[in-house]
Symmetry: none
Subunit: 235 residues, 2 copies
DNA sequence: TCCACGTTTCGGCAGCGGCCGAAACGTCAG
DNA sequence: CTGACGTTTCGGCCGCTGCCGAAACGTGGA
């Protein structure tokens, strides 16, 4: 018995598979209900409830009561950072879980992270915008180029309005399943809103998945193509 | 659940009290024998042996055989970093087993955290750079000011090269022993490298401690002083 | 008011895993 | 070679805790 923080209790808390799954699910940043987290962890609601109570008690999660739902989220950046560090270390030491689990492919393909597009589609969009020169990555962060700005305006985004907001327009958000960045910020939100309003994709009500229609998927992919080859389908 | 790092297994490994005690004991940087670690953990040698085997197998510890002794040490900086993060989080969430004691004084004074300077010296440098206006703390994070940029260039840091990298240039990293931030990121790394190449400090080979020479310590402290009062010793 | 639903509490079961005693292995000293 | 010592392996015990079924609680809708 020495001095120092009780690292064991904390790590043991994170070390349970069900709790770790819940924490991982919450790493995307969105608050989830107890029932959703039970599904994520693959346990019954009553089991999940016990785990969540312990995580809240330990200060790792915050809970917000809305009606008969309880929304849980990561308590703060330091918790997220600790989890991220563990994830990186787990990856370096070659620990990849091969757990069987009923996780649907739709979430992986496209989901919303807060209010912007994440998942494979989100990462693909980010990559395409950068590759096309619509977004520039600098030391100050992310910004739309002049060409990109014109393109977004042509797509129906009110860039002047976005620039006037306090919220950062472009932010790179690390994608959980892809481990690569996708576009966050007010521009990311505006783009996803535009996809929805055009009927390209609809948010699943129960999950965070975004369900693209076939036509919407095709138009989305056209949107990602370099400006030169794009036909004028985005009017 | 799809693939992804097995955070649960890793955290569970750290989460056992006996193993956590051993890891904490090894955080000082020195290699310890299996018997010593058994004592640290408060378990019998045969129990400790099992734990150590698992930690080595998981890649958290390295073992070096010397005669009939086996010396165990932390496998690498990333492991130490993960443990530090957990320690900080455990402290923030109020999980303290006792008072945070001085432990190894040299480690507390100056050590390397990954590749940048931590400990009292690291925190002092961070405070000085912010106080002098060389670094600015904004909502977007940390960034060098124009004056700071010029100063780092004058100190021999290739700022253009740092800006070209994907790695964030400036990051505030919470210091374990000081509980206050120090400078991480590529700039933090470049600064520590500069200190070493100038002979101000040398990394201890067995531990993560940084040993300043008397002259180096004086020059380092001069470096921290406001630009106005600084003499041109940093050319 | 009644019912449906999300969530929590309680109780009991079962399994994992940490612990130690005993014993074997390897090294060093005499 | 023999004995001491550090360390590991084996076997078995035992406690912790994660799990679920059942039931209670609170909210929202009909």
């Amino acid at each position: 018995m020495k001095e120092g923080p009780d690292i064991a209790g904390l790590a043991a808390l994170i070390g349970d598979p069900a709790r770790a799954n819940m924490l991982s699910a919450l790493m995307a940043g969105k608050a989830l209900t107890a029932g959703e987290l039970a599904g994520e962890a693959g346990v019954t609601p009553q089991t999940a409830s016990g785990h969540l109570a312990r995580l809240v008690d330990a200060g790792l999660l915050l809970v917000e009561v809305q009606g008969r739902h309880r929304y849980y989220r990561i308590a703060g950046p330091d918790v997220a950072e600790a989890l991220e560090t563990l994830l990186v270390l787990a990856e370096r030491t070659g620990r990849v879980r091969a757990r069987p689990g009923p996780r649907d492919e739709a979430m992986r393909a496209a989901r919303r992270c807060y209010d912007h597009l994440a998942g494979t589609a989100g990462v693909a969009m980010f990559d395409a915008l950068v590759a096309n020169g619509d977004l520039t990555v600098g030391s100050d962060g992310l910004a739309p180029s002049a060409a990109g700005r014109a393109r977004f305006v042509a797509f129906g985004i009110d860039m002047d309005e976005l620039e006037g907001r306090r919220r950062p327009m472009c932010r790179a958000c690390l994608d959980w399943s892809e481990r690569r960045p996708h576009l966050a910020g007010s521009l990311g939100a505006a783009l996803m809103a535009a996809f929805v309003s055009r009927g390209w994709a609809t948010p699943d009500r129960k999950t965070r998945a975004m369900r693209f229609t076939d036509k919407g998927r095709a138009e989305f992919e056209a949107f990602l193509r370099p400006a030169a080859r794009r036909h004028v389908a985005d009017g």
